[in-house]
Point group: C2
Chain length 356, copies 2
């Protein structure tokens, strides 16, 4: 299934790209005056293979949740139980991602792909709001400083879960997929993945996550360095990298991105967890980058390193470092606006406006 | 009326600021993880004088339109008639501002405060969509390189038009005012205003507007320099500055900002035209800055100089240089999201989520 998905990912459609460029030049605005929105609209036309591309509606956020064996190394001050507690908060609609999703009119799907304890589900809550998908591959990764975080089969199963979720959301009508994540400790495997795929030193891609003190921060860098030294992951073998130093939510996000790209639906990336998964997705299928839109520049330094490696410029830069999909949701109206211009704005000819 | 409005502008309400800071710390997210949104939500609580502050809904864009005598100096390749033609485009709903306003659920009000020719109004169109307010103070400014652009009385009349529009929009229920503008040539007086209020050299605050070649760009700088040399405007006399080197839409935007601040409603600034007007508004009433939210960082260099002078960080930075209110509309969901967090996100206690 992973191989079929990768094979389905194709380059942008050049005639649609050309048609969108031509249309942008005829709309009632100075050429180039919409800045980054113009190039984005052109790329999304190429992705859809038609101009104008469909409006990216409705939007679907998929929050993949997992726990991390490396939590034992003291890389975060937050207890691991917060992962499952936050799933309860998502399902009850009380998290920031819920507030932003309501505002944006986006659905929220929470996927337990690797949480350490079984999330308690209140059926009444779930029927009214966010949906929980039970797809646990294993109850948390192993400690990557001791052994590989996952077997290759586990990593593949998590990736394929993401592909399946992407397919189900697109089948249900989603016009854009937004990446979300929850997993206490998950900025540590993100840093390891980014260092592995980009070759950048761990100290330059490791951040303070949800807020760690100097001592924990130094330990976090040491942990990433130790894991990379132990496994020496090969960036040309993305499944091997994910198995060695990844997380189950990271692997599932790789699948979501590949699944979206195969269906030619844009995937709006949230923060550093998504950016690290995007590197793996690009290693599986370089053309998948055509479907990726960087929602925001996370405060985590690794996110900027990863996005630069992918050649992606984020739409929003507000110092967010919350995760959950919040940064992607804030960027969604920019993506929709970029496409809407191609649908709704009059041309100079039609509006009777003089050109310069 | 201007004096009454200025007298009504007060500092932020400190108890509401403190309450919002305290609430932010109890919500289910790591402290500080919403970056710039947290401080924004706190400030808007202080502006409203209550925590949480009301959601900034509905939003109202006011597009002030004017023409410029300095157009005769060849500062832009666009013919002056485009101002009135674009008003027709706004009223027909075909401009980018209309597309973004529909997406954001914002109303659009077009105000002829200084257009050179009478806008032709199709009553059927106006009844269905954007509204045109006829409030022409004079049919375009005078050429500021030859004489003052406006008399003090004309400048005051335009400012008071903006105050009146702000009052009418707030009376009609608007929870936030967005600045919009239309005026071929209006980045030239914007640069002059910014140089006058900040003391920064014209070459550093003059940009290429809607896109001018090197020769026109140099002429534009020379024109700004010549106007400032002729009038030597005193930044402590904002009405004098507006009269000497301003535009009618600039003056009206000053009024919109002051009117919003007096009513304690946030004013979301668009690009360089708004930023230049914001400097004048701050010169009239320093506490008005508390009501200003910088929507985006315009590609025009003067906008960044002005925002820095005001101590405002823009929410979005995508290289836009279109005007009309488009950058403010793109930023609106960020403002709404920042406030929504205070309304809808669960506290650690209520959600049963452990703290670090």
């Amino acid at each position: 299934m992973l191989e079929t998905t990768i094979a389905a990912i194709r380059p942008l459609d050049e005639p649609a790209v050309a048609a969108a460029r031509d249309l942008q030049a005829r709309l009632t605005k100075p050429a180039g005056s919409l800045g980054a929105l113009e190039g984005l609209s052109v790329r999304l036309a190429g992705l859809a293979g038609t101009c104008p591309p469909p409006l990216p509606e409705p939007a679907a956020v998929a929050i993949f949740a997992g726990d991390h064996g490396v939590h034992a190394q003291g890389v975060t001050p937050w207890p691991q139980e917060v992962t499952v507690q936050m799933i309860g908060n998502f399902l009850a609609g009380g998290a920031v991602v819920n507030a932003f999703a309501r505002q944006a009119g986006a659905t929220v799907t929470v996927v337990d792909v690797g949480v350490a304890t079984v999330p308690p589900v209140d059926a009444a809550e779930v029927s009214m709001g966010p949906r929980l998908v039970a797809a646990n591959v294993r109850r948390g990764t192993r400690d990557m400083t001791v052994t590989a975080a996952l077997t290759r089969d586990e990593a593949r199963a998590a990736v394929e879960t993401g592909v399946r979720v992407a397919g189900e959301l697109v089948d249900a009508g989603a016009g854009i997929l937004l990446t979300g994540d929850m997993g206490i400790g998950n900025t540590t495997p993100s840093a390891a993945l980014i260092a592995a795929f980009t070759g950048v030193d761990p100290a330059a891609v490791t951040g303070r996550g949800t807020g760690v003190d100097d001592e924990t921060y130094q330990r976090k860098i040491d942990v990433v360095r130790a894991a990379l030294r132990r496994h020496r992951p090969d960036p040309a073998d993305p499944l091997g990298v994910l198995a060695a130093v990844g997380g189950l939510e990271h692997a599932a996000l790789v699948g979501l991105i590949l699944g979206g790209a195969a269906r030619r639906v844009p995937v709006l990336l949230d923060g550093v967890i998504a950016a690290s998964a995007a590197l793996a997705a690009a290693a599986f299928a370089p053309d998948a980058v055509g479907a990726m839109v960087a929602g925001h520049r996370s405060a985590e330094p690794g996110a900027s390193v990863a996005l630069r490696h992918l050649g992606l410029d984020p739409l929003i830069d507000l110092g967010l470092r919350l995760g959950e999909g919040t940064g992607a949701l804030l960027a969604l109206p920019v993506v929709t606006g970029a496409v809407r211009v191609l649908h709704e704005v009059a041309t100079f000819d039609a509006a009777g406006v003089s050109e310069k």
